[in-house]
Symmetry: C2
Subunit: 258 residues, 2 copies
């Protein structure tokens, strides 16, 4: 169960970039795309079923993000490793970066992480991701194509036993402009859309936006879709069809305001 | 004069890291340490004298930063390339990143930079620097040693013909706590110290703080010393002697407040 970080398979784990030539200003980011547990870390003491549950990744998020990327002609960057090894939407010293507990599950392999192991995971997973994303963003800015950063997440319909009625959450950090525009445009989707639900920046869930969008003054928002609505490839595609008009209208409104 | 960016000598230009094992929480950053013009870019159409002037670098800043690093036992990271190629304290789309004019001098080699050239310099100079600095900061955070980011600059005593009376400028971005503590402690130095002079965040001079310190909530400040006060190695050392008690007192005040 203890990390064998000396193994070659312990990284670096580079982000996966799809449709890099995409012409949209939107850059889609999916930090919780994968439930892969590299062999260096074993199974963290979890059952096969647990490693397939929402604690290990955001089910449906990658499929939805791919659907949006195809329809918008946007570049997509996504994580190659489970958030149980390193949650890429957290700074290295946040408790959620390598969680000891996720919702109702203990994560035995994360129960007693040494500083050396925290450093090793940061260097193997977090930094290759963060620097890879930075390379993409800075290159676009230099080339005169300031990207709009939209992160794609999913959330569980029942959390700590409580059902959630929100279907589409739109979360902002320091700059709420794009989030407000997406909320304003979301009526046409028929989804129960809410601002800063089921999480908000106060829950430390906006690290990606803070690190990659805010310092460059880039428009940004974090989207959360309830995962029972994107549980199959067909449902993911249908959700992409519903959200594309929302995003397109929001981007247009933002351009007009700029 | 046109960049020969295909040459191997066109980068990547990695940051220089000194005293990496330093035990101080302070991480010293010197973005304008060097006036080196890599052969790929020729001399940008400048005279030898101009490439030695303050437009190409911050004279004395590296010597002062080294003096502070030695006295504080702090790690120092500094730039290997002149800010006329890429000003590392600017985002890629800021006019100052590859300035066409600096104070009273035109920079012929920067007069008509294409987007391709802007991208090439960003990838050769800015990204290796920014990602190298990020590697250092994130590793310290992961290892339980949150750094305090202090950037070291120098400014010219006469600007556009006007003499400047300020000797020691302390500049902050979003979080003014450390800057205020340094100002409060600066009386003992005998220097004419001022907050947010001769520049402030409104002049877009705090990119390093915004990109590297603010997203992680790290204490940070930018220091500016008038370059006639650090014009020789002896003067640099004397200034380090004057500033170390100021910084030590400010860090102590900040710890007490935390």
């Amino acid at each position: 169960m203890r990390a064998k970080v000396g193994l070659e398979k312990a990284g670096p784990f580079l982000p996966v970039i799809e449709n890099e030539a995409g012409q949209s200003p939107v850059l889609l980011v999916c930090e919780h795309a994968s439930n892969a547990l590299p062999s260096a870390w074993g199974n963290l003491g979890l059952t096969h079923e647990q490693t397939r549950a929402h604690i290990a990744w955001d089910p449906g998020a990658l499929g939805l993000a791919r659907g949006l990327a195809a329809r918008l002609d946007a570049t997509l960057i996504h994580a190659p490793v489970s958030r149980l090894i390193y949650d890429l939407n957290r700074a290295p010293d946040m408790p959620g970066a390598m969680p000891t507990r996720s919702e109702v599950y203990d994560i035995p392999g994360n129960a007693a992480i040494s500083l050396a192991e925290r450093l090793a995971r940061t260097q193997a997973v977090y930094l290759p991701w963060a620097n890879g994303l930075h390379n993409l963003i800075a290159a676009r800015i230099a080339a005169g194509r300031r990207p709009t950063i939209i992160t794609i997440h999913s959330f569980t319909p029942v959390y700590h036993g409580k059902p959630r009625s929100v279907e589409f959450g739109i979360i902002h950090d320091a700059n709420p402009t794009l989030a407000h525009a997406i909320l304003a445009a979301s009526g046409a989707s028929g989804l129960n859309a809410r601002l800063n639900e089921p999480y908000s920046a106060a829950d430390d869930v906006t690290h990606t936006l803070r690190l990659h969008a805010t310092p460059y003054g880039l428009a940004n928002a974090m989207l959360e879709v309830r995962n029972d609505l994107i549980a199959t490839p067909t449902a993911e595609a249908a959700m992409a069809d519903r959200l594309v008009p929302v995003l397109t209208a929001a981007l247009r409104a933002q351009e007009r305001a700029a």
